[in-house]
């Protein structure tokens, strides 16, 4: 779908991208030990004898991690391998107590799957593309070296040692920074819907190794580089762009791309070499003899399937098809699982409060949520998660608008007061006397007064300057302190000016 090309001195170049995403599985305990996994704990406070690789310690698989990997696989429509196995990846490093990482090379738990991306989720006409996913395997994370604790020594924090990761390996199907960004964002969204990863990229719960190569459009794949541990959607896009440009410049200067591992420096927006293929380890993978092959029963897989929530694509289609929302609104509401949950709670409460069907109030609720409520949260630098107002309270406010008790304009004031005081909408409207008035006598009196004071404008209006109608409405509303029913103002004004 993308015609992204890099214009080199010698012509156009196409970029080919594959991502290996490491996603920390959301569980209380590590992959092979009972240790806790909370972020930000004191160094070495979440380390068991197994994590520290004491002599004679043995790994025992955590069933919840396996379950989450299977659920994730099902969410990307992947083949679930009923037989999988853990392998040891052997190398020495101070953050790797066992001297090997337990991973799955030969028989991963999840096989071929796919992900549908759209370059613009909010645009119903934007192109979509299916990105192939080669596999998902489960593996242990390593610990962390700390170089700033002592002038001459490095310290080791093993809190992360043994934490469960899913490695989600895409096919080299992406062709632009935007596609790579859309893929990562969509994958993150699905993981968060499934609940298998919290997707907190700034805490390291999700990070991507970005494989980039360039070629003449239609040629064979070029030599790729792998940029490690990129931890935001924006950075992934930046890596693709800067690395592709670097490769093009290199080739056009007569050089060759070397297969190597690179690191991204966000401050300088460039990648630099970490180690070349020649220095690559021989990891001596072999099946971990401490662990039996993982054999999954059909019943277990079906339980995993049944436990999946409605996923974003299906949800968006339903919002458009059943709730009658615009594609734009449906896209925004479903992109993040929290937004969708909040919206659905609001929808249910609103329908109940107004005694209507959900489809009847969906537009009101979605428009209000996306424009009024998000705008108000934004002003306060808050998001849904930190919002002091919940869906029930919001539904009460919407009901007051829906039944004509207050106008949309007054609703904005009420919302502000709700944020300020924490009181309910009904209480505020009552206390502040904000009820909309349908008192035609009072409105007629106000209109008569305004028309008398603006006789010149009445003349102009009658002479054909119909735009002045809005002026009269505004003046009347002002005179009524915003509390007049705008429909009644319209009707009475038209009558008076006829």
């Amino acid at each position: 779908m993308s015609n992204y090309r890099i214009q080199g001195a010698t012509g156009e170049w196409e970029v080919v991208i594959g991502l290996e995403v490491h996603a920390q599985i959301t569980t209380q305990a590590k992959l092979f030990s009972g240790s806790a996994t909370a972020f930000g704990a004191e160094p070495n406070s979440q380390v068991s004898l197994v994590d520290a690789a004491m002599p004679g310690m043995l790994p025992v698989p955590n069933a919840e991690c396996i379950r989450q990997a299977v659920r994730t696989g099902l969410a990307i429509k992947a083949q679930i391998n009923k037989y999988s196995r853990f392998d040891r990846k052997n190398y020495f490093y101070a953050d790797l107590p066992q001297g090997y990482q337990i991973s799955q090379l030969y028989h991963p738990i999840v096989g071929e799957g796919e992900l549908l991306i759209s370059l613009d989720d909010k645009n119903p006409d934007a192109d979509t593309k299916v990105i192939g996913i080669e596999r998902i395997h489960v593996e242990q994370d390593a610990g962390k070296l700390m170089h700033d604790q002592h002038p001459t020594m490095s310290y080791v924090d093993l809190n992360r040692s043994g934490v469960a990761l899913m490695e989600i390996v895409s096919r080299p199907d992406m062709r632009s920074p935007a596609e790579a960004g859309a893929y990562l964002a969509k994958l993150r969204s699905i993981l968060r819907y499934v609940g298998s990863c919290d997707g907190n990229m700034d805490q390291g719960s999700m990070r991507a190794d970005v494989n980039v190569s360039v070629r003449r459009p239609g040629d064979e794949f070029g030599t790729r580089t792998e940029t490690k541990n990129v931890n935001s959607v924006r950075f992934v896009m930046a890596v693709v762009e800067s690395e592709a440009k670097r490769q093009v410049a290199l080739i056009e200067d007569g050089g060759q791309v070397v297969q190597e591992t690179r690191l991204y420096d966000p401050d300088r927006n460039e990648t630099r070499s970490m180690r070349s293929k020649e220095d690559a380890h021989d990891y001596r993978y072999f099946p971990d003899p401490d662990l039996l092959p993982l054999v999954l029963e059909d019943g277990f897989i079906e339980e995993c399937r049944a436990s999946l929530p409605e996923l974003p694509d299906a949800k968006r289609a339903r919002y458009v098809g059943e709730l009658g929302l615009s594609a734009y609104n449906a896209g925004v509401l479903t992109a993040e699982v929290e937004t969708a949950r909040w919206f659905e709670a609001l929808l249910a409460a609103t329908a109940k409060a107004q005694g209507k069907g959900e489809a009847d109030v969906a537009k009101q609720a979605s428009n209000w949520l996306l424009s009024e409520f998000f705008g108000a949260l934004n002003k306060l630098s808050k998001d849904l998660h930190s919002s002091p107002i919940g869906p029930e309270a919001a539904a009460e406010l919407l009901a007051l608008v829906g039944n004509g008790t207050i106008s949309g304009t007054i609703a904005k004031q009420v919302l502000e007061k709700m944020f300020e005081t924490g009181d309910g909408a009904g209480v505020i409207v009552e206390r502040e006397g904000l009820k909309q008035t349908n008192d035609t006598g009072a409105i007629e009196a106000a209109i008569a007064d305004i028309l008398a004071k603006n006789a010149d404008k009445v003349e102009q209006y009658k002479g054909g300057k119909e735009a002045l109608f809005g002026f009269f409405v505004g003046q009347t509303m002002k005179a009524m302190q915003g509390k007049a029913n705008p429909q009644i103002i319209n009707e009475l004004l038209k009558k008076a000016l006829a």
Binding site: L49, A52, A53, M54, P55, G56, M57, L58, P59, V60, P61, R88, N90, F92, Y93, A94, P97, Q98, G99, Y100, S154, V156, D282, R284, Y285, F286, P289, D290, L291, L292
Partner: protein
């Protein structure tokens, strides 16, 4: 008190239970025997206080009328491969010298729970790699046995050589061993003691320093079959901390011992009749066949066609796993750390491992690293795994015809320390014990008699998976007929 140390495990347990003597008297006697036996070098660490402490608890429990455990009052030796809380656990390697675990292995904990006491940690081949005990960083164990008319120091076998020597020399009534390719059975055969390696997964490996995870199994070594049965009951059982542990109840092997083999079939594998097999060993084997017939069994010739590939297979798989299992001894978190001036991390690793590991351990790490390397993996490791499956299938086929298999335990009796300088010669000594290990089968060695030089010979009985009972019963039938009463004359 010499009579006390001559008692078997069951005699001690029963005597304590009946009040014929106290557990403290027992522990005191064996503590004294251990203290006198420095020349054997069987113990790396003696723990007389621990033995007394456990004995006092048993005596107190008995006095209070509380029920006593299966091994109440029995002091034992613990191969120094089992982690013992606050007691040095070295695997007979310098790299773990001084390491005192904060945890207790599952098997040793079960033994303490059954009322046993710890006499000390027994010497072994370093990381259980070896067949003669000469690879120990603490020096070799010297067998209490001597060839008739000679005083040359002999090997007690390996790797559980401290265990076999200690049981044979009456330093303990029983000891734990571990067996990867014969490390319980061969030392038992060399010292006239009895030892069983149960089915892979019977005993938890949690807390046992790993050598080759897919092969390592703990088992008891004692003076007779019944003692082994009782002790194995205490050691075995499912452990959720070991993913390869068998989730099966522990049978009452001791109560069900039965030497009547009528209706049973015993297989004699033709591939084990090696050219030039030691005449005394061959004779003992024939004698064993006759004993089992006498016990009522029918003897059947069988074939285990892939036997000739077993040693090569074992010496690929075991070192491959070991090369990875021993990567954790890196000087970072525990044990030895060699940090030359100005050394970086890689140099620290190299210096630590060069200083900490013995030659045999290094040899196996190198072999294992090689066979797992890119470009060699399929030719060695993958092929070895395939052959391993074929060897297991040989046994499966054989056990369709027979109930147990009888072979010699080792191709020779004990040899002198220093006699086998070529590692390959040493590896060849595992020829009979390795195939059942590769198949994960229960196998035991029972004494059959003495060779012309007055040294013990053992016979190996191999059974179906989970059929320790069949193995023990056949062992008992041999034991009853062999009437093996020889014991080493005390010279230490």
């Amino acid at each position: 008190m010499s009579e006390m140390t001559d008692k078997t495990l069951c005699e001690i347990r029963d005597g304590v239970a009946k009040g014929e003597f106290t557990a403290v008297e027992v522990a005191t006697s064996f503590n004294a025997a251990v203290a006198e036996a420095g020349a054997l070098n069987a113990f790396i660490v003696a723990t007389p206080e621990a033995a007394l402490d456990a004995a006092q608890k048993v005596d107190a429990a008995r006095a209070a009328g509380q029920p006593l455990g299966k091994l109440a009052g029995v002091p034992i030796g613990m191969k120094d491969l089992f982690a013992t809380r606050d007691v040095q656990t070295s695997a007979a390697s310098k790299i773990l010298a001084g390491f005192k675990p904060q945890y207790e292995s599952t098997v040793s904990q079960k033994l303490w729970d059954a009322g046993a006491g710890l006499l000390g940690k027994l010497n072994l081949d370093q990381f259980a790699m070896g067949s003669s005990n000469e690879s120990s960083a603490f020096g070799p164990v010297v067998s209490p046995w001597r060839r008739a008319g000679e005083d040359k120091a002999l090997t007690p076998g390996g790797s559980s050589g401290g265990s076999s020597a200690a049981v044979a020399a009456r330093l303990c009534p029983a000891a734990t061993g571990t067996d990867t390719g014969g490390s319980i059975r061969q030392p038992a055969a060399f010292t006239g003691t009895t030892g069983i390696k149960p089915t892979y997964g019977r005993c938890s490996r949690w807390g046992i320093v790993a050598f080759a995870s897919s092969l390592d199994q703990a088992g008891p070594m004692a003076r007779n079959v019944a003692d082994c049965a009782v002790m194995l009951e205490a050691m075995a059982g499912f452990d959720e901390k070991d993913a390869t542990s068998l989730d099966l109840p522990v049978p009452e092997w001791a109560a069900n011992l039965n030497a009547d083999l009528r209706g049973k079939k015993v297989g004699i594998p033709k591939e084990y009749r090696l050219d030039g097999l030691n005449a005394d060993v061959a004779k003992a084997w024939e004698q064993g066949i006759a004993w089992l017939k006498d016990a009522g069994a029918e003897v059947v010739d069988i074939s285990l066609p892939h036997t000739q590939y077993a040693l090569a297979t074992y010496y690929i798989i075991a070192p491959a796993e070991a090369s990875s299992n021993l990567a954790r001894y890196d000087g970072v978190r525990y044990g030895l750390r060699e940090l030359p001036d100005g050394a970086n991390l890689q140099e620290m690793y190299a210096a630590t491992r060069a200083a900490g590991f013995g030659d045999e351990v290094k040899r196996r790490i190198l072999i294992g690293t090689y066979v797992l390397s890119a470009g060699y993996y399929d030719a060695y490791y993958t092929k070895a795994q395939k052959v391993r499956a074929l060897i297991a299938r040989d046994f499966e086929e054989a056990f369709k015809q027979v109930d147990v298999i009888l072979t010699p335990t080792a191709p020779t009796s004990a040899y002198a320390l220093g006699e086998k300088s070529n590692p390959i010669d040493m590896y060849l000594g595992d020829v009979f014990s390795v195939p059942p290990s590769l198949a994960g089968l229960p196998a035991m060695s029972v004494p059959a008699g003495l060779d012309a030089g007055g040294l013990p010979l053992g016979l190996q009985i191999v059974g179906r998976p989970f059929d320790e009972q069949g193995v023990l019963n056949a062992g008992l039938a041999i034991e009853q007929r062999a009437q093996f009463a020889a014991k080493p004359e005390k010279w230490w």
